[in-house]
């Protein structure tokens, strides 16, 4: 198990390299550059060249990449061209807001999703199941930003129960968490339900019933445990989403966070900041998936042994 974990961690190095390449070139290949955002009206081409030289933007892309990579290896993400502050400071400043929303949304959607999936599977084919399955369909098709706007309209504007926007106090977290978590609930509920139903068909479950164990105990202690294996994989994929997945939600609720930071940086073609944010988000997704894999392997005794 430890060897398996170490091997997977080592694999992160080439992945990191490829991600850095993609992140760097994608943003540099987009038309427009940060200089446009720094120029005052009426500036001359000479001034333009001056600024380009100041930020090293006049050199070849390969050179720029190597410089960026070289600094990256020493832990330096560079300095924002537009805001003039270190990228790492900007990220550190915005990260807590994203984490707050992401973790709350992840917990909310996971717990609710598993509960909904278990209930649906236990009452398979009944109206309860139909209702939950219908909700799953709705939840996976309704766009979160639209739901966010709807929630704002109803609960903030009409009812006035919670703030319309911002990130002050825990009440301002309620609507964003619901809006961001709905898709997650649907996904987790769907996977849990299907995995439970499939596990329940297996021979060993028949034998558990033949032992006379109460059905709810079989569902919770045995079937759910098996159903959690695919759910953990999905959760792993969603850990990365905790940081960056709520971009549109942050926007709708005018919350600070990595998502808002990234969108603004993208609009301004603030290369170092975009690269820094994207790299963080990409690595969060990759590490999340890795954690999911490791937990999944640790849950199943057969895999635990095969990968020791």
């Amino acid at each position: 198990m430890i060897a398996f974990t170490l091997r997977r961690l080592l694999l992160l190095l080439p992945v990191f390299f490829v991600v850095s390449l993609v992140v760097f070139f994608i943003i540099h290949l987009v038309p427009g550059d940060p200089i446009d955002n720094l120029m005052r009206a009426g500036s001359t081409p000479e001034q333009r060249l001056q600024i380009a030289a100041k930020y090293g933007l006049d050199r070849s892309l390969v050179e720029q990449y190597l410089t960026w990579m070289g600094r990256l290896l020493t832990g330096d993400l560079g300095t924002s061209i537009i805001q003039g502050r270190p990228v790492s400071t900007l990220i550190a400043h915005n990260m807590p807001y994203s984490l707050q929303l992401g973790i709350a949304a992840l917990l909310f959607s996971t717990l609710t999703g598993i509960a909904a999936g278990v209930i649906a599977a236990s009452y398979q084919g009944t109206r309860v199941d139909d209702a939950i399955t219908g909700f799953i369909l709705l939840g996976s098709t309704v766009p979160s930003f639209w739901l966010g706007l709807l929630l704002i309209l109803v609960f903030a504007v009409w009812l006035g129960w919670v703030p319309v926007s911002g990130a002050r106090g825990w009440t301002s977290l309620i609507l964003p968490v619901i809006a961001a978590g709905l898709g997650g609930i649907a996904l987790v509920a769907r996977v849990t339900r299907i995995a439970m139903i499939e596990t329940a068909r297996q021979d060993f479950v028949v034998l558990l019933h033949a032992k006379g164990l109460p059905p709810f105990l079989i569902q919770l202690r045995h079937v759910l445990r098996h159903a959690m294996v695919p759910v953990v994989t999905i959760l792993g994929l969603r850990i990365g989403w905790v940081l960056g997945g709520a971009v549109t939600i942050e926007y709708v609720f005018a919350r600070p966070g990595l998502g808002s930071l990234l969108i603004r940086a993208l609009n301004q073609r603030d290369y170092p900041l975009v690269q820094g944010c994207l790299l963080m988000l990409a690595m969060a997704v990759i590490v999340g998936a890795l954690i999911g894999d490791i937990v999944q392997a640790a849950m199943d005794p057969r895999q635990r042994e095969a990968r020791s």
């Binding site: 297996q202 021979d203 060993f204 028949v206 034998l207 558990l208 019933h209 033949a210 032992k211 006379g212 164990l213 109460p214 045995h222 445990r225 098996h226 849950m299 199943d300 005794p301 057969r302 042994e305």
Partner: protein
Amino acid sequence: MLLTVDMLRIRFGAFSPVDQVTLGVDRGEILGVVGESGSGKSLTATAIMGLLPRIGGQVAGGSIRFDGTDLVDLPESQMRRLRGGRIALITQNPMTSLDPMMRIGPQIDQAARLHLGLGRSAARARSLDLMADLRIPDPASVYDLFPHQLSGGMKQRIVIAMALAGDPELLIADEPTTALDVTVQAQIVQILVDLVRQRGLGLILITHDMGVVAQACDRVAVMYCGRVVELARVDALFEHPRHPYTQALIRCIPRNGMARGTMTAIPGMVPTGMTQPPGCRFNPRCARVESRCRVDIPELLVGPSGNGVACHLAEAA
């Protein structure tokens, strides 16, 4: 009789895959239930265990009397007390019958804790004893293993230990040796026979292996297409099979000294699903079919000896 099944009829929606099943088993006795795949053997076992609703079926007629109680109308809460307690099941495939994520020992403990009210350590001691009885080497270390660390034969012994943990009076073994190597098959059958003889259990041994029937069973119910076509003591069955299907089955048993290429098979196929032939279900494959066989369904007539046959031509046989 410990268990008497009388004219049992099983229904899935409008379809009755099992009808007119009559059989019985007493303490210390082994009843073989034989028949081809799809003949309703497993469904009958599922019905006795009261697990039909789980797979969408129900008992539509007849009775299942266990020690004087009719199980058909028994409320689920009381049925659950019998299940795993007084009636236990051994399933066909030991590879898939154990929870792969749970250690062996606790899986055996479950029934004892549930039905005998034993605590953790008492249940563990009982499981270790059972494992030793079933000749599982080094029970204490096997107790802490996971299922995938055991061979098929060992797993089937664990499944048997699991069945015995609730101290049952009736065991239903649904093709317990089908998934195992031939050498292991004989050991498992021997273990089951010993259990019946030593503990006075009633055993319903479902199999399609006539060799196992001859070796182990006291009485036999032959099933075809969801019906019991013949019920007889094992010696009578092999010496004077009365139903043409039984006769054909016995002719199919390979014997020592058989010449190459002389294996016998019953011509035709088992009718599947809802395309049951009218009249006797065996009539399309029967060598001695007469016109009434294609119209009238023969009743299973059980004599005072407990032997019976469902065939229009049985008297002439």
